[in-house]
Amino acid sequence: MLTGEGLWFRYAPQLPWVVQAQSIAVEPGEVVGLMAPSGFGKTTLAKLLAGYLMPTRGRVSVDEQPLPARRYCPVQLVFQNPELAVNPRWRVDQILREGHPPQMHQLDALGIHPGWLTRYPHELSGGELQRIAIARTLNPQTRYLIADEMTAMLDANTQALIWRAVLDYSRAHQIGVLVVSHDWPLMRRLCDRILDLATMQDHSTLVSQ
């Protein structure tokens, strides 16, 4: 189980808290939605859970173990803009191999054309590149996937295609998925349960800031 217990975060001691007293747990194979108005620290919380940032207070653990500092992280984060998540000087096949050797049937399920593998990131469209970024995370070492507005830039058909493939994979391999999104109908469609940060949080402290 992926757990974040009593997470607090701020960028420096004199700056305001970005994340305050948040606790969250995701079971293997479970799809959990996370929603809140802008500025509530959804993305920061996602970065804490994936080990991109260290919490100021509290701890993040996978099966009672802290996240590894060096090895492949079992919690993988996919952002809204794939252009910023890949090395622009690498070809696509090298980008995919950074995680794990890609499996052809999986690339196929995500609609990745074999011809794309020899191209550079700028030669693919945003939707095509996002599939690459997702394919890179779907490998045996990944136990939890955090999707931060993963399909907000994509058309409805591509969005549905990608989520079908991701949910099939997560069910088959018992991957826990945390979906961060503004899109309420999409969350209802995907998630087993949905957390609303706005109601979990103590409103009085927010108003006083």
Partner: protein, 309 residues
């Protein structure tokens, strides 16, 4: 007001050494915008939505060749005329705060647009004040630099630049992704208001829901062509003509969430016949020899030979 027919855009690329190849990314694109109307342009990334905007504004890169005809107020849009009208009669509401000058206060930037449109300095200042008031931007916001305003405020500043220009045609390029639903509604309402003042508005987006909230008509682009032009009501009433439009509608999470498999064909390997044929449930032999022409079916335009069944 604006009429685009058979637009094509071809890029010439260096392949190896001095050998060049021609890559046609837009083929047979059609669109019509009347005064007082919001027309949404919907399609996947790579379908040619942004290139259309760039072609109308005359800001395509130098290695691009444009074919077909573009008429603005009855006169053809030549490169010279584009340059004259750009920012005055035709204005762009860009995607993000990244299009503002980061080293200039936002009030000044809007004022500069007004002055470039021929208003004297004092009149331009009043115009900025009036526009900021109209969009609920506090007076002190004018003194902020772009990084100091929130995403929603930046969006309103960008709309302000289009409003003070008195433009007759406003092109909004992907104004909504990743915004909170309330801010989305607000942004779209601003576009609606612009149309009510008698301007023509083109809303470029990949988000059908956003498009249907404000548009009178929706043009669906696929692989660089206009697949269908439907009225906004046609979506809810099930009067859609092209199989791709129907697939897009079905794949929304609040509808069936069922996608059609496959990808848009890449511009290097376009099929000879209908561009959607390899993914289409209605495909027959008759679809393969040539591209279907855009034709009128049930009050809309569609590029499919099976649309009236």
């Amino acid at each position: 007001m604006l009429s685009v027919s058979n637009l094509s855009v071809t890029f010439s690329q260096y392949e190896q050494g001095l050998r060049r190849k021609q890559l046609t990314v837009i083929t047979d694109l059609d669109l019509e915008v009347k005064a007082g109307e919001v027309v949404a342009v919907v399609g996947a990334s790579g379908s040619g939505k942004s290139l259309l905007a760039h072609a109308i504004l005359g800001i395509l890169p130098e290695n691009a060749t444009v074919g077909g005809t573009m008429l603005f107020q009855g006169q053809p849009l030549t490169p010279g005329r584009c340059q004259q009208l750009r920012g005055k009669a035709i204005a762009l509401v860009p995607q993000s705060v990244g299009y503002l000058d980061p080293l200039m206060r936002v009030g000044q930037q809007v004022q500069r647009v007004a002055q470039l449109n021929g208003l004297p300095r004092s009149a331009a200042q009043t115009a900025v004040k009036r526009t900021f008031q109209r969009y609920d931007l506090p007076p002190q916001a004018a003194r902020c630099y772009p990084f100091q305003v929130s995403g929603g405020m930046a969006r309103r500043v960008l709309v302000s630049t289009a409003v003070v220009s008195q433009a007759e045609l406003v092109i909004a390029d992907e104004p909504t992704p990743g915004l909170h639903p309330d801010v989305v509604v607000e942004t779209l309402n601003h576009l609606r208001e612009l149309a009510q003042e008698g301007r023509g508005v083109i809303l470029i987006t990949h988000d059908i829901e956003a498009a249907l909230m404000v548009a009178d008509r929706v043009a669906v682009f696929y692989a660089g062509t206009t697949a269908e032009i439907a009225s906004a009501q046609d979506f809810a009433t099930g009067n859609l003509r092209h199989p791709y439009t129907q697939a897009l509608w079905r794949s929304l999470p609040q509808n069936d969430f069922i996608p059609v498999p496959g990808n848009q064909p890449s511009p290097e390997a376009l099929p000879v016949g209908c561009l959607f044929s390899d993914r289409c449930p209605w495909m027959t032999e008759a679809c393969l020899p040539e591209r279907p022409a855009l034709r009128a079916v049930r009050g809309g335009l569609v590029r499919c030979i099976h649309a009236d069944r």
